[in-house]
């Protein structure tokens, strides 16, 4: 369990409406500082400057999907140790078990409940070593 509360979250998502809802949820309900990235290709750069506690990745995005981005993050020193939570509409558990082996922290399935999202993230955060 990390020695500080979860406060900075970076979310990479191509869908504008979901971005808006997640931002509102995490800011209003979760009282967190949120950085939303629209284009996965710019994500790593933005993460390096934002320095999040935790990263949320959408699974399916045009251009680059979540798992690919995740693997890229593992190659960059500044992002390789960031805990990553996948948001996915696909109940692709088998794929996820592979990513968990690579170090993914958790998975939240879409549609998630905004009300519960901050708590879900905190639970994952608290379960980290």
């Amino acid at each position: 369990m990390p020695n500080r509360p979860l406060s900075r979250v970076c979310y990479v998502e191509d869908e504008e409406d979901i971005r808006r809802i997640v931002r509102m949820t995490l800011e209003r309900i979760g009282k967190m500082v949120v950085e939303i990235v629209e284009d996965p290709h710019l994500a790593i750069e933005r993460m390096i400057s934002f320095k999040p506690d935790l990263v949320m990745l959408d699974w399916m995005m045009p251009g680059m999907d979540g798992p690919t981005l995740f693997r890229r993050m593992r190659e960059v020193p500044e992002t390789q140790n960031l805990p990553v939570v996948f948001i996915t509409a696909k109940a692709a558990e088998r794929d996820f078990s592979e990513l968990r082996a690579l170090g993914a922290a958790g998975m939240i399935s879409k549609p998630f409940s905004p009300k519960d999202l901050p708590d879900q993230l905190r639970a994952i955060w608290n379960s980290l070593p």
Partner: protein, 600 residues
């Protein structure tokens, strides 16, 4: 063969089993002998008249009444015997008896003539001696004819004539008499010899006749037998022709392509469906190699190497899927069943190749998959936004909302959630049924899982004013199951129970072990399951009361999914009426490991 039968029939003792058996031969000889009787008796009377005339004199006159009495008596006896024989119904069955009677009558006749000669000879003049000798020789000679069918009878007859007469003549001691006596003996011997020969001839003739009749009989019976066999053969041929026609019809009228090919895969015959599917006429393809005609050479199956292996193995192949080319170049995907036709020596004669055009089926599967994927992603993504937005509004995180608006956004959220549940349920069912659904089994602490399901559903039950509780402290037990899916099933059962329980009642969940199975039961005090609904309760979109559904929600797919899931975990799901009202739903899972026997 004919010669053999004839030869066998000549000797009656050689083959007692065949038709020339001694009994029958004897009966025929008796018949023959009796057949001569009327003429023989008439001859006897005629000779008696001639003798009376020839021997007439003082001595004969004295003896005439007595002699004629004896002649008539013997004639009458023979006539009576003849009549008796003719009237007898069993004469063929008892020929030896009739033969004996005939022998006695022959002896009597012979004796008559013998003693006639002996009695009248001594007192006669030479002329009359000659007459008498001639008479007796005639009587004896007539016997040859009359008794030809039996040499012993003739011997008796002729002996009875010859012995007294010879004796008397020998006793007379003049030269002529001695010569005559010698002559009589000679004639007697010759007569017996002739009759013996005649009888042999009789046997041969009869034997040949019998053999011929037997042959005719055998021929007739063979003929009948042959006709029967011919009829059977014709029938069998008709049956074969009919089944052949039936088979041909099976192939010809089959809605799928059927080919017959030889061991080199050369097409011998093909049906109309094959013409339709592959676009070739039968005339174009028959005589050509099937594989090279419709399967591209680079195909991984049904190529020349594949066929060589098939011919070597001679084992039926099924479900061989290959991309084939029609005559017009369009690709069709076919599933082939190839059955070798092997003869008694184990040689492959030909093979029946059936093809099923699965192109459309594959297209349909692809469309279905695309549809499912669309449903999964394209519907759920906007719903995420809808539900998320409404939840944010309804949570109050954005500040207070005007009461009317709040009510409406809650209605919107609830119904959006319902729509999402429905989509999720349909996707679940589709995935399970298409076999793309995999159960991730692990050792699950069942008691913990049951407690978790109670916690998760407590808020839902609160909405209906229903309390959830554990019936007893559940035993510490592990089952091998998919944790998430088992939780889904329990949630389904518990939420159903809560939905259908009257307000203020409680839903009891229990865990028990019975007969190597773990049973989780969920008991409610609801209205029970009506008889009409029982049979389709686990069917899709099955809801007992649609008015209630609208009020309390639910897609009607929950139990159908639960059943599929439980069965995927080798378990069973069921329900029973509960004493005191309500229903018990239960799932049974195989008991694999107890907590003590946990691996690792």
């Amino acid at each position: 063969m004919n010669q053999d039968s004839a030869a066998a029939s000549v000797d009656p003792s050689a083959n007692p089993g065949n038709s020339a058996d001694p009994q029958r031969m004897l009966a025929e000889r008796v018949e023959q002998l009796y057949g001569q009787t009327p003429i023989a008796v008439a001859g006897m009377l005629g000779v008696a008249v001639i003798a009376t005339y020839g021997l007439w004199g003082a001595q004969f006159r004295e003896l005439a009444p007595f002699w004629w009495g004896v002649v008539l008596l013997i004639a009458a006896a023979r006539a009576a015997l003849y009549a008796g024989y003719r009237r007898s119904t069993d004469r063929a069955a008892n020929p030896s008896q009739w033969m004996r009677w005939l022998a006695i009558s022959a002896l009597a006749s012979g004796t008559l003539w013998g003693f006639t000669g002996a009695a009248f000879f001594p007192s006669r003049v030479d002329q009359q001696h000659v007459f008498l000798a001639l008479l007796l020789a005639g009587a004896g000679g007539g016997g040859i004819w009359a008794y030809a069918a039996s040499w012993p009878v003739f011997t008796l007859y002729a002996g009875a004539i010859a012995v007294p007469f010879t004796y008397v003549m020998a006793a007379t001691a003049d030269r002529l008499s001695a010569e005559l006596a010698f002559l009589v003996v000679l004639l007697f011997g010759m007569g017996v010899g002739i009759v013996y020969r005649l009888q042999r001839a009789f046997y041969s003739a009869r034997g040949v006749k019998h053999a011929y009749r037997d042959l005719s009989d055998q021929y007739a019976s063979l003929q009948t037998q042959l006709e029967g066999q011919m009829e059977e053969l014709m029938h069998a041929q008709r049956v074969i022709a009919l089944s052949g026609r039936k088979l041909a019809l099976f192939a010809e009228r089959a809605p799928i392509p059927v080919f017959e090919v030889d061991r080199m895969a050369t097409i011998l015959d093909m049906n109309a469906a094959a013409e339709t599917v592959f676009g070739y006429s039968s005339a174009e393809l028959v005589g050509r190699n099937l594989l090279r005609s419709i399967v591209p050479a680079e195909a991984p199956v049904l190529n020349d190497g594949w066929w060589t292996n098939f011919v070597a193995a001679k084992q039926p192949e099924a479900g061989v899927r290959a991309h084939c080319l029609r005559r017009d170049g369009i690709e069709v995907v076919c599933e082939f069943s190839i059955t070798p036709l092997v003869n008694e020596d184990g040689d492959l004669i030909s093979a029946i190749v059936q093809a099923r055009d699965v192109t459309q089926q594959l297209d349909a599967e692809r469309v279905k998959k695309e549809f499912t994927s669309t449903l999964s992603h394209e519907l759920r993504t906007p719903l995420t936004s809808v539900i998320g937005s409404l939840q944010l509004v309804n949570s109050g995180a954005l500040g207070d909302v005007q009461k009317d608006i709040g009510e409406l956004t809650e209605v919107a959220e609830r119904n959006a959630q319902r729509l999402l549940d429905l989509i999720n349920d349909i996707l679940d069912i589709e995935k399970i049924e298409s076999g793309r659904f995999s159960i991730v089994s692990e050792y699950v602490e069942l008691d913990d899982l049951v407690r978790e399901s109670l916690v998760l559903n407590r808020a839902f039950a609160d909405r209906f004013g229903v309390r959830l509780m554990l019936r007893d402290e559940p035993p510490r037990i592990k089952v091998h199951a998919d944790r998430r899916r088992l939780l889904q099933v329990l949630t389904n059962l518990i939420s159903n129970a809560a939905k259908f329980s009257p307000e203020g009642e409680q839903v009891e969940v229990g865990v028990s072990i019975a007969d190597h199975r773990v049973v989780v039961s969920v008991d409610d005090r609801g209205p029970g399951i009506s008889h009409e609904f029982r049979s389709r309760i686990f069917s899709r979109f099955a809801q007992a009361d649609s008015a209630l559904t609208r009020k309390k929600g639910g897609t009607g797919l929950g139990l159908a999914i639960s059943k599929l899931l439980v069965e995927l975990m080798d378990g069973q799901i069921g329900f029973a009426e509960r004493e005191g009202g309500g229903t018990r739903f239960f799932i049974e899972l195989p008991l694999r490991e107890t907590a003590e026997a946990e691996p690792g």
